[in-house]
Amino acid sequence: MTKSLEDYLEKIYGLRLNLAEIRVKDIALEMGVSQPSVNQAIKELVKLEFIKHLPYSKIELTQKGLEQAKMIADKHHVLKSFLVNGLGVSEVNAEKDACLIEHIISQESLEHIQEFMSKLEQDDCSKSYLQEEMSCENAASAIPLSRLAKGEKGIVLCIHGGECIKKRLQEYGFLVNETIEMVRNISNCPYLILVKGYQIAIGRGIGEKILIKPVETLSE
């Protein structure tokens, strides 16, 4: 797979967390390229069986594609967090560099970086949410917390992120299968969530790591 195809796959994976359905034009918009070039890439990804092309130019990741995309996203995350937290590179440059490094880095180096980061983060709890731990089994049907509007309820499916942040969230009652209610969801402000009778404010960065299932779809 070429670099640019990997980038496309990663973008589609990223969009999936924020949009209900993904269309060619969303990808073009997000990546700042023309629709025809997106179409070209899509064709190749379909050939590789990473995505399915549905009617109305809707796009969906296959199981194989999902795994591949997760792997890439995971790499990206580890690299970025290494650059930012391990070395102190600025967010913006780390993002760019991680995009470049992720395509060429060897598995061995990556593993060592991962190990290094887990040591670094062990004694520093508030940061370890950056350390993605993509191990949610039922994540395929999950949406991130940000998609719950005010007053809507959701059931926690899984919590991404380091052990440490996970434990903290669990102490506040964010457990798998727990029903939570969004009290406030205004961009740039922390989420306010009702859980076990308490209102908990959580930063948007952490909120992204909590994947949920809206309660309505459950009753269907």
């Binding site: 102490e171 922390p190 908990i200 959580i202 930063g203």
Partner: protein
């Protein structure tokens, strides 16, 4: 002596109970994380003296922040203690989560169901008998604010109930999946010692083998690695995370207890609680922009209230002091006359004159802390704090700093990372505390007689601005930290309990009086002494001892237009901020109510520069010391002194130049 430890989740009312039992007035506030230190007190019940210990609130016993470590370590290091587990009975499901863990410690435990007034108002009944039989611990319903139910609780002190091990719910069938693993670990750590906390340690190891430090258990690193392997094995066999399984099963247990012991007696609550009433305004209070405006208005009203109440009470003190002054003037001995009127009346008296302001600032701050607004302000400010590499939680110490910087610096313990902590401390030291209030009041009254209240507010804003600027510069240079993320509970609104606010304000005012009677008095006497000798006729003049000393240092400040007397005032202000006003009064023979005499010596510009300088320059000695303690670094303490003094110097110089 028997030791009784108060333990519970944050904001459950431990300190309220502590104050009730011991008669102390430790800080109570309606937000999680008020108490950050271990506090001890004594209480006498049925002819027996008990030591009561108040610990920082914790959600569970896995330590994440410094104050949580304090609590956990205390529990593991002390054997001969009994526990009162204080629960907020409104939300038993989450509160009992901690109870589950405390129970594992195998120590005698009493359960105190607190906030029963709120529970009853909601129309809920709690079956204490049942809870008691489930947990094998005595249970009492209390209202820690008012003291209702207290005797029933204290009667339980004499009971000797130890919840015996076999009953612990961890050994119940619902936890059977981990039983083999649990006993394996327990046997390993318990090989060669007898210790009642073994169960607890084993449980902690299961929950978070990574988070424990070596001294908490006796396992070697290789044993830990082995343990982690068994955990991974377990997780693969059961297709779930061990910690997730534990949390879920414990919560199922607590939930089932909650349903068993609570029942609604009425369909509708008797009256709406303040929290329900405030719900309507919550959209505004937490609004990204309106919320900020509301915060500004709240602070402004706070200052107006302090100014108004203080000014009202001050009138009476003025009458008293001038009567004393007239008495002094009848004295024959010039030495005594000078001593009493200068050292005592101008040095200490002028500060006491402003006592009402200090009292009312403590009163209103305590009121604000109690209503539950602080966490909301922190929520609103979160996104701004992100720009400083901080998050909303750092905002709470800043507001506390208006009262006194020392506890505010200590409140920084609730920050999760070292960088956040240091940065917040550096911000706190620019927040004008109540000690700076006397000079601010006197000088604003002098320079802006008609709009003193407004100008004080503006000056406070300036302090805040510099504080923000400091954090911003630090973020860009010395301590760049990736923005941490907020996780914070918003407490319900509660009507402040005025009796407690008053008590706490009186207590703090008393401490202030003690300060006035000791350190301020001593330094005033010293200043007087150095001014009076060797040449009484030239009191505070350039031939006095103080004048000779002061002229050495004065050149540093002469570009700002300050003479040696203002310089000496600033130096004495390092000991305690109130001394700035004392020293100025003594040396220029002024009274705090009316300092217009200063215009004879200085221009408006110089006085304004002086006002700004003293607002911004170095935090007092006590604050610097606590910065050093809390950051474990002399460098940061020195940094705060040097940085703030330099900023102050530059500002004052600019003003002196411009005005």
């Amino acid at each position: 002596m028997k030791k009784i430890v108060l333990l519970g989740q944050p904001n459950s009312g431990k300190t309220s109970l502590f104050n009730l039992l011991t008669g102390a007035s430790q800080e109570v506030g309606n937000w999680p994380g008020v108490t950050v230190e271990i506090k001890e007190g004594k209480c006498r019940i049925h002819n027996e003296t008990y030591t009561i210990i108040d610990l920082p609130g914790v959600y569970s016993l896995s330590p994440f922040t410094m104050e949580e470590k304090v609590t956990r370590d205390y529990l593991l290091e002390h054997n001969d203690i009994r526990i009162i587990n204080v629960l907020d009975a409104n939300h038993l499901e989450r509160q009992l989560f901690l109870t589950f863990q405390l129970w594992l410690l195998g120590k005698p435990m009493i359960i105190a169901l607190n906030m029963m007034d709120e529970v009853e108002q909601k129309g809920v009944m709690v079956d204490t008998e049942k809870l008691s039989s489930i947990t094998h611990s005595p249970v009492a319903q209390i209202v820690a604010r008012t003291g209702k139910g207290l005797t029933r609780l204290t009667d339980m002190f004499v009971l000797d109930t130890v919840s015996t091990q076999p009953n612990h719910p961890l050994l119940n069938p619902e936890f059977n999946l981990i039983h083999p693993l649990f006993s394996q670990i327990r046997n390993r750590i318990g090989k060669d010692k007898k210790d009642s906390t073994l169960d607890f340690q084993a449980f902690q190891l299961l929950l978070s083998p990574d988070l424990l430090d070596q001294k908490q258990h006796s396992l070697t690193t290789s044993e830990i690695t082995e343990l982690k392997k068994s955990i991974v094995n377990w997780e693969q066999t059961h297709h779930q995370k061990l910690s997730e399984y534990l949390y879920q099963t414990i919560y199922t247990w607590t939930k089932s207890i909650e349903t068993q012991i609570t029942k609604y007696t009425r369909e509708k609550p008797i009256a709406q609680s303040l929290d329900q009433k405030m719900n309507r305004f919550e959209n505004w209070i937490l609004h990204p922009w309106i919320g900020v405006v509301i915060f500004a208005v709240v602070m402004f009203l706070l200052f107006q209230a302090i100014y108004f109440t203080g000014g009202f009470l001050k009138g009476y003190l003025e009458i008293l002091l001038s009567a004393i002054n007239r008495g002094i003037l009848h004295l024959q001995s010039p030495l005594w006359q000078s001593f009493l009127s200068r050292a005592l009346l101008q040095g200490v008296g002028n500060i006491i004159l402003l006592l009402p302001f200090i009292f009312s600032s403590f009163l209103f701050l305590s009121w604000l802390e109690d209503i539950g607004y602080l966490s909301r302000a922190a929520y609103v400010m979160d996104r701004f704090m992100h720009k400083l590499g901080l998050h909303g939680k750092s905002f709470i110490p800043l507001i506390l700093g208006f009262g006194c910087n020392v506890p505010a610096v200590m409140a920084c313990r609730t920050m999760e990372t070292e960088q956040e902590k240091i940065k917040t401390m550096m911000m706190v030291s620019f927040i004008p505390c109540s000690g700076r209030l006397p000079v601010l009041l006197a000088m604003c009254g002098l320079l802006f007689p008609r709009s003193a209240g407004l100008w004080m507010f503006i000056l406070y804003l300036l302090g805040i601005l510099i504080s923000v600027l400091t954090a911003f510069i630090l973020e860009k240079t010395l301590i760049h930290s990736p923005p941490g993320e907020l996780i914070m509970e918003l407490p319900p609104y509660r009507w402040p309990y005025f009796k407690n606010n008053l008590k706490s304000a009186i207590q703090k005012t008393k401490q202030f009086l003690v300060k006035a009677g000791t350190i301020i008095f001593l330094v005033s006497v010293l200043i007087w002494f150095l001014s009076y000798f060797p040449n009484p006729s030239d009191f505070g003049g350039s031939t006095s001892a103080l004048g000779t000393l002061g002229k050495w240092v004065a050149p540093v400040f002469s570009p700002l237009g300050f003479d040696w007397r203002l310089t000496v005032s600033l130096i004495s202000g390092f000991v305690a901020k109130e001394l700035i006003l004392s020293t100025v009064s003594i040396l220029f023979n002024q009274s705090a109510g009316n300092m217009t005499g200063l215009f004879a010596f200085f221009s408006r510009g110089t006085l304004l520069a002086f006002l700004i300088f003293q607002l911004l320059y170095t935090p007092c000695l006590a604050t610097v010391a606590s910065i050093k303690n809390e950051s474990h670094s002399l460098n940061w303490a020195l940094f705060s002194v040097i940085w703030s003094s330099s900023v102050a110097w530059i500002f004052a110089w600019a003003i002196h130049f411009l005005v």
